[in-house]
């Protein structure tokens, strides 16, 4: 029991929680934005992979780290445009189209990486984001050292959650997005263009997903390798349900999830005789449990996964 207390009281654990949560916050908020407008985006896993690859590649080729993040965001926007064209304009199955985007984006990132970065014994690396300590915040007891271990994109993720919560619930644009996700016909009657709103939400949401992927290569690690996203996209999709489509709860869900992940990583090193694979399984099993607990109570956007065609019901 004292082992558990030691782990929970350590600054290292909480610093890791924020670090592990960051890609999940970006991914969950991105998926949430798409779904609020009525589009399920299963392209997330591939978009995160591509963002991780292209952001890293830009920096490897000489760009600075912020440009790397921007390049990743742009690539995500392009895949978002593809997904929107398939699901909004053509009204195709959002499930299958999203899987298509994931398969395409991830295989394309492996192809480009292998083509542009020659095979070598050890993977090539870049200089990742350095931790940032904000004056004032850094002096707080306990919270200070935890925050000072974080890199700028993590601060960005935390601010983004607040910003998105404000935008969705307190601005006319947010109202238009929510209306489109609940009832696009009613939205159109109010002068909102549901097609445009869905395009915008999917493009911006996909850009956020790609930034989440790029965090992995530009901050958490310093190199790219295939399969590094490791299902974080799918976990984000589960977290959106867990969060009942609310940005604030999404932030809480991602942090809670990251807490369990950081905790099991530390527990692994002190507990003997348990196969490490059991620990690695926990994030996926937790996601499934979270889905089951929340699915009944969650307020699903009513028009989620329903294509909108003008004049058709």
């Amino acid at each position: 029991m004292s082992i558990v207390l030691d782990i929970v009281a350590s600054i290292g654990l909480w610093a890791a929680v924020l670090r592990i949560a960051t890609p999940l916050i970006f991914g969950t908020l991105g998926a949430l934005l798409c779904e609020r407008a009525g589009v399920l985006n299963l392209g997330i896993e591939g978009i995160m992979t591509f963002g991780a690859m292209i952001g890293w590649l830009a920096v490897y080729q000489g760009a600075d780290l912020w440009t790397g993040l921007l390049v990743a965001a742009l690539s995500g926007a392009v895949f978002g445009l593809l997904h929107a064209a398939l699901t909004v304009t053509l009204g195709l199955s959002q499930h299958v189209s999203g899987l298509g985007v994931t398969l395409f984006a991830s295989s394309l990132s492996y192809y480009l990486f292998r083509l542009l970065v020659p095979l070598s014994g050890s993977p090539p690396t870049i200089e990742p984001f350095a931790p940032l300590s904000v004056p004032g915040l850094a002096d707080l007891p306990f919270i200070g050292p935890v925050l000072s271990a974080q890199t700028p994109p993590t601060y960005l993720a935390l601010l983004l959650a607040l910003g998105l919560a404000y935008a969705i619930f307190r601005t006319p644009l947010g109202l238009a997005i929510r209306m489109t996700g609940e009832n696009p016909h009613a939205a159109e009657a109010q002068g909102v263009d549901p097609m445009a709103v869905r395009y915008g939400a999917v493009i911006v949401g996909s850009a956020l997903m790609a930034v989440g992927g790029a965090f992995l290569t530009l901050s958490a690690f310093n190199s790219f390798f295939p399969t590094m996203v490791q299902g974080r996209g799918w976990i984000s999709i589960a977290l959106v349900v867990f969060a009942s489509w609310r940005p604030g709860r999404a932030l809480f869900g991602a942090l809670l999830f990251a807490f369990f992940d950081a905790f099991q990583l530390r527990l692994q090193t002190v507990v003997d005789g348990v196969p490490y694979q059991l620990f690695l399984m926990t994030p996926y099993i937790l996601s499934i449990v979270a889905l089951c607990v929340m699915a009944r109570h969650a307020r699903v956007p009513q028009a989620l996964m329903q294509p909108y065609r003008r004049g058709e019901r």
């Binding site: 299963l42 593809l82 398939l86 053509l90 195709l92 199955s93 499930h95 299958v96 189209s97 899987l99 298509g100 985007v101 398969l103 395409f104 991830s106 295989s107 394309l108 492996y110 192809y111 292998r114 083509l115 490791q230 299902g231 799918w234 976990i235 999709i237 589960a238 349900v241 196969p275 694979q277 059991l278 690695l280 399984m281 996926y284 099993i285 996601s287 499934i288 889905l291 089951c292 699915a295 009944r296 065609r309 003008r310 004049g311």
Partner: protein, 349 residues
């Protein structure tokens, strides 16, 4: 501009759709090959030669098509009933490890005529169990089975990794995580001598025909199609929805588990965590390319296997990463979706 549903879909359009989709996918990945500075037509010619140029390569392509046919059928029967089974990869691995476990222990001494059918059955049951869980969660808690079946892929692969690193580890594999082997008697006989092509290919072909007959000629086939076309309508017409979906899930998970079993008994004899280069995921593309038609699955699996096997030789000769095969296959899923759409709708101004 708007889209209008076609009243009538001529047969040539149905046949032409996948061909156009594949052509478009090849053209798009051709751009990527050209961007890498390699001759596009030579690259595709080398892929074709690499896949069918010799007796060895042709049998290799058919060997590779075998698990793809089974995972493709798994996805096709599920999608037809709108059971979104994306967990083919996990079911494949669970089927494979179940076969390795039972085949290296319980049935290690059994003669082939006994162990082969029993082991194939074991693999199918294992795959089945892994899909019943997400389906049950959907029926009980209305949780989307897409996400749960996807997440279970990771759990299944880690479970396999745990077993082949632990109780099922082969002590003779020099510390490499690899399962114990099934007995030689349990291995599927070769279909063509001095090649890797085994009877699993025949099994997959027969199953494609059987499933086609079941879907088009039996009450269960009708019910499963009805469940996919309109769940509410199916219930109204007296179809027991939950029971039908459960049977579909058993069939789909069973086929994916069988794919793993066949790959172990036909090719390797043991399990490693790289047994499948994404057979479960490629199966989804195969099913979509086939328009969810069981016989079309055979052709779509052949196309996919051609790309994967042919890309190896092409890659060595032209210095194009083999991942181009994955890109082409993924693109063909997207182009197929678009092609099917334009076969169903026409553009009106």
């Amino acid at each position: 501009m708007r889209f209008e549903r076609r009243e009538h879909r001529p047969l040539f359009l149905v046949v032409l759709t996948p061909l156009l989709a594949v052509a478009a996918a090849l053209a798009l990945s051709g751009l990527l090959i050209a961007a890498a500075g390699a001759p596009v037509f030579e690259a595709y010619w080398r892929i074709l030669v690499g896949a069918f140029g010799s007796r060895l390569s042709a049998t290799e392509t058919l060997t590779r098509a075998t698990p793809l046919m089974l995972t493709g059928l798994a996805a096709a029967v599920a999608f037809r009933a709108r059971v979104w089974n994306i967990g083919g990869e996990g079911q494949f691995y669970l089927g494979a490890i179940a076969v390795a476990a039972v085949g290296s222990r319980l049935l290690a001494e059994a003669p082939g005529y006994l162990s082969i059918p029993l082991l194939l059955f074991t693999g199918a049951i294992a795959g089945m169990l892994l899909l019943i869980l997400p389906l049950w969660l959907r029926l009980r808690f209305s949780v989307d089975e897409v996400v749960t079946s996807l997440l279970l892929n990771f759990v299944a692969v880690l479970f396999v990794s745990m077993l082949i690193d632990g109780p099922l580890k082969d002590p003779l594999a020099f510390g490499w995580p690899q399962s114990q082997s099934v007995s030689d008697a349990a291995m599927l006989p070769k279909l063509v001598a001095r090649s890797r092509l085994h009877w699993g290919f025949g099994i997959a072909l027969v199953l494609a025909v059987v499933i086609h007959i079941v879907q088009s000629r039996t009450v269960f086939g009708l019910k499963s199609r009805a469940a996919g076309l309109s769940p509410e309508g199916a219930v109204f017409a007296g179809v027991p929805l939950a029971r039908t979906l459960l049977l579909v899930a058993c069939l789909s998970g069973g086929l994916a588990g069988l794919a793993g079993a066949v790959e172990v008994l036909g090719v390797k004899g043991y399990v490693t965590t790289d047994l499948s280069p994404g057979f479960g995921y490629s199966g989804i593309v195969v099913a979509m390319l086939a328009g969810l038609h069981p016989l079309g699955v055979v052709l779509a699996a052949l196309f996919t296997a051609t790309m994967f096997v042919g890309a190896d030789g092409m890659s060595r000769a032209l210095k194009i990463p083999t991942y181009i095969a994955d890109v082409t296959v993924a693109l063909s899923l997207i182009t197929m979706l678009v092609a099917v759409f334009f076969a169903q709708y026409r553009i009106r101004r």
